[in-house]
């Protein structure tokens, strides 16, 4: 984030805290794309991604003083909020399995998240998104931060609240898992 964006965010946050509606809307528009992408990569679902973005900003409305400018930029802070909300949501949802999903999982034994051959490029991208979303969360986070959002290992470690070496090993494990699916899709012998 450049100095200009950083200064803009700080001004908007100050105005938002004093109840400025336009400033809050400007913050939303400035951070919506990155947040939506992050939520989309983590969930693999556009509807859930949109809901997550909404949850993050509604949380911000209720906690205007939680963001501390001296500790970092607003973007990573909102990403952290999204991460915690997603984790909470996943834990809540893990207690319940809709009947339709359970039935579908039983009916479709080939649905292992692997890529199928012959997909168009858009379809391939969608399949990759689903494959990433199907990774265990700790691996998925590493892929999202490092490969999709272009963060360094150090930045990803700060966001994931773990050691740099952990990020690296999780990313490598995630890419090994994805490579197996990719090799199958390419018609090569699966690893």
């Amino acid at each position: 984030m450049g100095e200009h964006e950083r200064r803009r965010d700080r001004e908007l946050v100050e105005r938002f805290r004093s109840g400025d509606r336009e400033a809050f809307a400007a913050l939303y528009h400035a951070h919506y794309p990155a947040l939506f992408r992050h939520a989309l990569y983590m969930t693999g679902d556009r509807v859930r991604a949109g809901e997550t973005v909404q949850d993050v900003f509604v949380w911000l409305v209720h906690h205007p003083r939680e963001f501390d400018e001296s500790r970092g930029d607003l973007g990573p802070f909102l990403n952290g909020v999204a991460r915690k909300l997603l984790l909470r949501r996943r834990r809540a949802e893990s207690r319940w399995l809709p009947f339709e999903e359970a039935a579908a999982a039983v009916r479709d034994p080939n649905d292992d998240g692997a890529f199928a051959g012959g997909f168009e490029r858009d379809e391939e991208t969608a399949q990759l998104r689903k494959a990433i979303a199907a990774l265990p969360e700790r691996y998925r986070e590493a892929v999202v931060h490092c490969d999709l959002e272009g963060r360094s290992y150090e930045e990803a470690a700060a966001a994931m609240e773990c050691a740099v070496g952990t990020v690296r090993s999780r990313l490598h494990r995630a890419r090994e898992l994805l490579a197996r699916k990719f090799q199958c899709r390419l018609g090569l012998r699966c690893l």
Binding site: S18, G19, D20, R21, F24, A25, Y28, H29, Y32, P33, F36, R37, L40, Y41, R46, G50, E51, V53, Q54, F57, V58, V61, H62, R121, E124, T125, L128, R129, I132, V143, D147, L148, E149, G150, L171, H172, R175, E176, L178, A179, F182, Q183, L186, L188, R189, L191
Partner: protein, 224 residues
């Protein structure tokens, strides 16, 4: 070394981070002898390209999800907020009064006879109310304060403050009555030929965002 031990270096290579020369020689030597690892590297590179495509996917318009967010903002920040301190109100009202009185000075201030002492050069009301400057001065009467009063008209309207946004239809407002020091008006850049110790009592119309939008002057007081 087993193939698995080369994977870490191959993954980084596949991510576009070409290893140093020594490490690359080791990896290349292994790749020449191991078709599986060569495919693994190829797959990692293909994976990287697919990830780049995924990262470049457009996102839906921001407006698609903003509705409930702004509705929550409006619910949490109702029209009347309690987080404005009295000092803020006083400053806002003083500035509002300064702007308002500037306009009236420019429009309604009549020239005074040179021989008559003018304790105030301010005309408070728009038309019919007597200007303070025109009221007779009674210096002999010992009055500690409030020498002159310009009685407000019963239906005195609020005068919008120039350069402020107009009120939205149906917008909440509140009226704050306060005494505004002339000194504050002067400090705000207002040209007043009056005793700085004087004060203006006025009703200030404040909109829901906490800003003064209009003013209704009631009286002016001059301390000796």
């Amino acid at each position: 070394m087993s193939c698995r031990e080369y994977h870490s270096g191959l993954i980084e290579w596949g991510r576009g981070r070409v290893p140093g020369e020594a490490a690359r020689h080791v990896l290349e030597a292994h790749l020449e002898a191991c078709a599986d690892c060569a495919r693994f590297l190829e797959t990692q590179q293909a994976l990287n390209a697919a990830m780049a495509d995924l990262a470049a996917e457009p996102v839906p318009p921001a407006g698609e999800f903003i509705g409930p967010v702004m509705a929550e903002f409006d619910r949490v920040h109702p029209p009347r907020r309690a987080d404005h301190s009295p000092a803020w109100w006083a400053i806002a009202a003083a500035l509002a009064a300064a702007v308002f009185l500037t306009v009236f000075l420019a429009r309604d201030h009549a020239p005074k006879p040179p021989a008559q002492r003018q304790p105030m050069g301010v005309t408070l009301t728009k038309q019919a109310a007597p200007a303070v400057a025109d009221l007779p001065v009674q210096p002999a009467r010992p009055r500690p304060a409030a020498l002159h009063k310009a009685a407000p008209e019963p239906e005195q309207p609020f005068y919008p403050i120039p350069y402020t946004a107009p009120l939205a239809p149906g917008e909440w407002t509140r009226v704050v009555r306060m005494s505004i020091p002339v000194a504050a008006l002067i400090a705000a850049g207002f040209h007043i030929m009056a005793d700085p110790a004087a004060t203006v009592e006025a009703d200030v119309l404040v909109s829901q965002d906490g800003r003064a939008r209009a003013i209704r002057p009631l009286s002016i007081s001059v301390s000796n």
